[in-house]
């Protein structure tokens, strides 16, 4: 990560340390990723509303977000 000033850096640390109890975790997100991906493809806002805990997880988990990105790329290919 590129160096930044103290305030931005501590904000990045603060964001990393924040956890959201709504986060469903990888297991549950992976179990519905195929359903979520099709919904995101049709209506991203609806996907986020209908699967709020999954959306929360995907915002925090790089590997699951990468799997979703790959799945969406496959759907759109």
């Amino acid at each position: 990560m590129d160096a930044t000033d103290g305030a931005e850096g501590t904000a990045a640390l603060d964001r990393f340390l924040r956890t959201d109890p709504a986060d469903v975790g990888c297991g549950e997100a992976m179990a519905v990723l195929h359903v979520y991906a099709e919904l995101v493809d049709r209506d991203p806002a609806l996907a986020e509303a209908q699967y709020a805990g999954v959306a929360t997880h995907l915002a925090a988990c790089g590997p699951c977000a990468d799997d979703l990105a790959g799945l969406l790329a496959a759907l759109r290919d």
């Binding site: 709504a22 986060d23 195929h34 990468d66 790959g70």
Partner: protein, 227 residues
């Protein structure tokens, strides 16, 4: 972490779209029809795996035969997973979307395994000098963040379990990919994420308790707000 039961995941028979129904018919047929279905599935998954490893390749630093090998392995294992779980496909998505998801998971797992063939860092190495850089903290501004970073290290020492500490060190200090840590610890992505999730929560609570971070999760009445 919360558990959710989103609409559309309740068990029960579902109507399949025509294409998905054809996939299921072929893959549950006998003889030549099934063989043709298996060949078609293998082709679908192989193409998806190759596309996916090419998509990830620039970030992975893997190319050529190694990349092709990851794609082939991922496609083969995805095929086994799809066939093993075929009875569980309930048509909540198109069959191909469901099958592609297995490709993504297998590519992630294979990439995680590949990391340890050419590791850039030992999983348990503890170089705390790396921590500021992980969050882009400029040494020129160390006076602004020195206490906070020292607090994080104290929190790791005092608040985390040995397992949580190991996960934090591997993922944050050593920047090991999460799936590679899961492989190394003979665990899975969910368990490693959960350990890091708990570690993050504990570290933040420690920093708040030691007045190193503001507790903005409390409302005006002093009670914790649900985030």
């Amino acid at each position: 972490m919360a558990s959710s039961e989103p609409a559309g995941t309740t068990p029960g028979p579902r109507l399949l779209d025509a294409d998905s129904a054809q996939w299921i018919e072929e893959l549950t047929a006998q003889g030549a029809a099934r063989e043709a279905g298996l060949a078609r599935l293998h082709d679908l998954l192989t193409r998806a795996a190759h596309r996916e490893v090419r998509r990830r390749a620039p970030r992975l630093g893997i190319a050529g035969p190694e990349l092709e090998d990851i794609a082939h392995q991922a496609a083969s294992d995805a095929m086994l997973a799809v066939l093993a779980k075929l009875d569980g496909f309930r048509g909540e998505s198109r069959f191909t979307t469901w099958a592609y998801a297995f490709v993504m998971f297998e590519v992630s797992a294979k990439v995680g395994r590949h990391f340890w063939r050419h590791p850039t860092v030992a999983m348990d190495a503890e170089d705390w000098e790396r921590l500021p850089d992980r969050f882009g903290l400029d040494p020129a501004h160390a006076v602004e963040w020195g206490d906070l970073v020292a607090g994080v290290r104290r929190a790791v020492d005092e608040a985390l379990t040995p397992h949580q500490r190991r996960i934090f060190v591997a993922l944050v200090l050593n920047h090991a990919p999460l799936d590679s840590v899961a492989v190394e610890l003979d665990s899975n992505r969910n368990a490693i994420y959960k350990a890091l999730f708990d570690a993050r929560r504990k570290i933040r609570a420690f920093l708040v308790a030691n007045a190193l971070m503001a507790d903005d999760t409390r409302g005006a009445d002093g009670r914790h707000r649900r985030r």
